[in-house]
Subunit: 322 residues, 2 copies
Amino acid sequence: MLLGSQMFRKEIKVLDCTIRDGGLMNNHKFTDDFVRNVYTAVNQAGVDYIEMGYKADESQFDRSEFGPMKFCTENDLNRLLGDLEKKCKISVMVDIGRVDPSTIVPKGESLVDMMRVASYVKDIDKAIDLTNQIKAKGYETTINIMAVSHAREQELDEALQQIENESGVDVVYLVDSFGALYSEQIAYMAQKYKTILKSREVGIHTHNNQQLAFSNTIEAIIQNINYLDATILGIGRAAGNCPLELLLGFLKNPKFDLRPILGVLETEFVRLKEEIEWGYTIPYMITGSLDIHPRAAMALRKSDKKDDYTGFYNKLTNEANV
Amino acid sequence: MLLGSQMFRKEIKVLDCTIRDGGLMNNHKFTDDFVRNVYTAVNQAGVDYIEMGYKADESQFDRSEFGPMKFCTENDLNRLLGDLEKKCKISVMVDIGRVDPSTIVPKGESLVDMMRVASYVKDIDKAIDLTNQIKAKGYETTINIMAVSHAREQELDEALQQIENESGVDVVYLVDSFGALYSEQIAYMAQKYKTILKSREVGIHTHNNQQLAFSNTIEAIIQNINYLDATILGIGRAAGNCPLELLLGFLKNPKFDLRPILGVLETEFVRLKEEIEWGYTIPYMITGSLDIHPRAAMALRKSDKKDDYTGFYNKLTNEANV
C-alpha cells in the first residue's frame, strides 16, 4: 500500500530525550547505571542525537534536590559518558533565564554537540540572543517554541519571521506542550513553520495526553519536518512523549536498530514503570483535550483523589467558563 | 485553527463495544453490575449504539466457561438490561460459523437493533448470506471485514463489489485487526471502501498496538467514514481499541456528554485495570508493527517471560524470514 511518509528520507534525524524529559518526573534522580544504559542503547540503536538533561544555573537550583542531569556540566557528562562509545551526538536543553551563559565552554572543550533553547513566543528576543551566543561558541542550536497551541497566530508568525531574519539557529521546533493538537492542526502549523523558516530545519516535539504523540510525529514527517523527538516507552512529563520504539519501528532507514531499545526496555523500564508514573491517564487526557497545562493533573495524580475524574473535569470546565 | 474533521457531522454514529471487545480478555466474565453500569453510562453519554457481546451457538460453546454476553440470548439481554432506560441502540456480533441463525428471532421480539457479522475476505459469500437472512428479520446489519491489512487487494476489491451488488447490508466496516495500519494506509483503504460501496455507510474499527487507534479513527472521519467503534479506556483484545473518552472529547456534536463515561471510568475501570491486562505493551507493539495477529503476544503476556521483549522480537522476525 502507498506509504509516502515511511519511505527512507536521509534528512530525518531522531533525537532521543528519554533522560531529559523523563527527568521531569523524578527531578532527574536517575541512577548513574540507568543513564549509562539508556545512553548505550540509544547510541547502539543508531539514533542521531541524545538529550541528557538541562544546563541549569547552579546558583538557582540546588544539587541536593536534583540529579546531575539537571545541570549537565562538562564534569557531569564526562563522569557518566566519558568512557562510552559515542556515535550519536549529545544535546542539552537550556531554559531562558535558567542558564548562566558564561558557564558554556567553547564546543572544542565540550562533549556536547547541540544546545536546544526552550522558549515561549513572548521570549523570542531572548531566545535569539542566547542561541546566537551559543552558536558563536561552535554548537549546533535549536529554538523550541513551547506551548504553540496557546500562541496567538500573528505573534507566532512574527516570531518565526524574526528567527528567520535575525538568528543563526539551525532547527526550530514545533512543540505541542499540552498534547492538545490534532493531526490537521499539526499539518497547518508545520506548513506555517516550513513556509516562514525557509533556510532552517524544522523539528517536532509531541506529548501523549490524547494518545496522539506518535501519530502527530508521523503527520510531521508527512509535512517534511525532519527533526523528530522521542523517548523510550514515551517517558516524559505527565502523559509523556512519542515512544521511540514506535518511531524506530516506523522509519525505514536501515541505520536504525530496534533491538538495543527493546533490551533496555526489558532491563530498566519494566522496573522504572513501577517506581514512577507517566503516560496516558484520564486526568492528562482531560487537560490535553481542554488544551491546558498538565500541572493540575500532575498534582491530582500525586494526591489521594488521583482517580476523581468527574470532580477534576467539573473543576476545570467550570474554571474555563469563568 | 482549521479543523474540518472536528466539525459537527450529523451522520456520524459512535458504537461502544466495551463489553463485546473487552469480553475477549476475560471470556465475557463481567459481573452483572459491571455490564449494567457500563450500559447506563454509554446510554447517558448519548452514544448511538452499544455492542453487548456475541450471539454464540450454545451447541459449540459451554455456558460454564463464558459469561452470558458470549451468548446474548433475548433472556440474557432482558435479564440484564430490560429494566434500564434505552436511548441507544443495542448491537450484538455474530461470527461466521459460530452462530445458529435459526435462534435469531424477528426484530419485533428482540431487544437487539443491529447485528454485526464479522468475516474474513475469504468468507464473504457466507457473510452476505448470513447478513441477508438477518436483514430479512428486520435488523440493521453490518459486515465487519477483519484483518484487512492481510487481504490481497484484488480479492478485497472483489469482496467489496460483491457486497455492493448482492447484499442488503447497511454498513461495511474497515477493521485493522492487528493494529498495523498507519494513517496514510487508513486513508487509502477508506477511499477504496467509499468508492466501491456507493450505496452503503462505511465504519472503522481500530486496534491500539501502535497507539494509533484514536488517530486512525480521526483519519477515517476525515475520509468521511461515519460509523466509529470505540471502547471505554480502550479496553479490547490485546492492545485494545480506540478509547471512547478520547473520541467523545474530539467530536463536537452536543448530543455527546463525556461525564457519564468519566463516572464509570472512576467506579469500574480503575479496579478492572488491576484485574485484567489490556492496552499498549511492547509485545503488542511488536506484533502490530510486524502486521501479525497478537495471539503470540497474548500468550507471552500470560507466561513467566512476559517482558522478554528481545527474545520475542527475535523469534517473530526469524519466523518471518523462513
